[in-house]
Subunit: 205 residues, 4 copies
DNA sequence: GATGAATGAGTCTTCATTCAT
DNA sequence: AATGAATGAAGACTCATTCAT
């Protein structure tokens, strides 16, 4: 009983925290970190001004928690999908496809991540770097090194090419219409990348 | 005589304005628009805080003037170099090479442009879109359409491919070390893009 | 219980608001709207400078709230007293007497009202016009029209005469010594007005 | 020759000064002393910002000079007209009539005087008091005392009655339409005052 | 745990004034 | 005498944060 009661309480706490984080994502993505109003975030989540300080000690901490939460979701969604593919070109296609799906499924969070990515605050940059390291590793190891080892991709510098592949993703997935839907097609981006990566062109369109 | 005197005065005014703009570029690029302090900008330029308001009516106007100035420089530098090349693959290489040169020659301005590009303020976005239209046109017409017409580039959707080429530029040129020097080599980026664009692989490595 | 608690809280809020308004009346009456310092108003009320913005969204809103509050007090005090009199000459005497009493009882507020009355800001003028309409109506209907209907006052244009009666009040009641006490006697002003209004002079001194 | 040249120069100086004063009257009457912009005044007069400081050492000095200038004009215009009348009731009528004529002829200056009259700045008040002393004396001696000595006006306290007469003038002449034309008729005001002042009603309507 | 009144550091902006030309 | 760039004090307003209830 005590366990259940405690569990209930924890659930409530987690729900409140979650609502605050979602509200923060909306506000941060709409106005950027500095222009975002922490009072508005708390009020928009249905609480009063002070409540958010019971969950996050500062605006900065809230930002970092949100980066961690959204980044983790993003990374895990893509990693899981990519690793489920056996074939390396399928993995690359899957990388872009799932990445675009993330943007479509979580438009606010996706926009928030871009905000964080371009924040002038080094703390945000650093947090982004850390949380996205697994995705960099995924591209580098499970796609690029994997493909090169099989002779499917031509030999290229791993770090550099990883940056190019990531750049294509971030640059294209961030172009969305007013409803947050990506303007570009993930398949087109994947084709472009594959053209650049494949050892030979046969069999690719 | 009067003309010379007047010219001198105008020169001084232009110099003051230029110093203020440079100081603004430093401040905006370091802290972003909102966190930038307009008083600091004026003081860092060697004037008292009120002076900047003799040249720009508001922080917003200063930002827009800077976007226009730096953007123009950026666009013109690249356009001039690219159009000087006859051959289409040389044009593409030149596009990336000159773009990276701009970043190296004007690190502060380059960082500022990224700030503006990712500003949550729609006014800044719009100003960026307008000032960069000529560069988009350059890539679309003088490089991509030009190369496709000659059969050197494979047929692709112009708008989409333009975005991909631009994305590669912006994404890679923005990665710089602490001295503002690009981490990547423009030739590598150009090669990557060419692999993706060329109709056949012969002659490209 | 909850009701009492709530009531207590509301009382505190109202008291704070009232203190701020009183402080504002002092500052506005002493220096005029533009020269009044809103930070000083808040500090003089015993709060820090930001507090006043929890109650009034802007200096202008504070001014308008004060006009409304003080104007209402002024109008109601005079209206109540005048309407309690049956006889028309008594009403006119009462009008001036109560008016002067207001100035004596609320010297700061009275001086503030003059400030507002002569403000170059049309918004203030308009607010004054609206809040004082009932007092104009009182003079016009309950005094002048009333007295003319009885043949006690000679026939005159109502609007014009109302303005004359009001002018005499505002012009004389605003002359005060350094303690805010009126320099003139309300009875003298009332006599002067009655001489001008009465159909015949008999019985008036 | 030297004399003429000097005279010419003085004329030019006087003209410049006059243009600045007229411009100041416009600005002060429109926005009040504090909100008036001294730079705007100089620019509106057709000079550059700094010029006005060659004529008036400060905004305050400009204000005082304008009070003196306009007040003198006002006082002299009324005094001259009133003293030209022999008969005391004619003098009173003339006082209001000429006063209203001043408002009509110099609407900007008239509005400025009201601004000054209600300024919270004691310096302005004091300057107004000094410049208008002759007008107070005119009313007190050349109209009221004069009329009482002849038995035409009933005996009343001179100072008090002077204030009432002045109050009626200032309060009514300040009500103007958007073109600066008085809303009230000076004859009506004069009649009202005469009713209040005359020893007997015979012969007055 | 939730509340929201109070706080006060921080910032954009205005403008009277100075002074070198 | 006229100019206008530079100055810097001053003030309205915002908002992250605290804390008593």
């Amino acid at each position: 009983m005590a366990r259940i009661a405690k569990s209930d309480r924890e659930n409530t706490l987690q729900q409140t925290r979650q609502r605050l984080l979602e509200s923060a994502a909306v506000e941060f993505s709409a106005h950027g970190y500095t222009e975002a109003n922490i009072n508005t975030i708390s009020l928009a989540a249905g609480f009063s001004k002070g409540t958010i300080y019971n969950y996050f000690p500062s605006k900065q901490a809230l930002m970092l928690a949100l980066i961690a939460g959204v980044g983790k979701l993003h990374v895990e969604m893509i990693s899981a999908a990519v690793r489920a593919e056996e074939e390396v070109t399928a993995r690359l296609r899957c990388f872009y496809k799932t990445g675009f799906q993330f943007v479509e499924a979580y438009p606010v969070q996706a926009r928030f991540l871009l905000t964080a990515l371009n924040s002038p605050d080094m703390t945000h940059q650093q947090a982004m770097g850390e949380i996205y390291q697994p995705m960099m590793d995924l591209v580098e190891q499970d796609i690029l090194a994997f493909g090169m080892a099989q002779g499917i991709f031509r030999p290229m510098d791993l770090k550099t090419t990883t940056n190019l592949i990531m750049t294509l993703y971030l640059g294209t997935a961030s172009r969305v219409d007013s409803q947050g839907k990506p303007l570009m097609n993930s398949a087109v981006v994947a084709d472009f990348a594959l053209q650049a990566l494949l050892a030979e062109k046969r069999g690719e369109a």
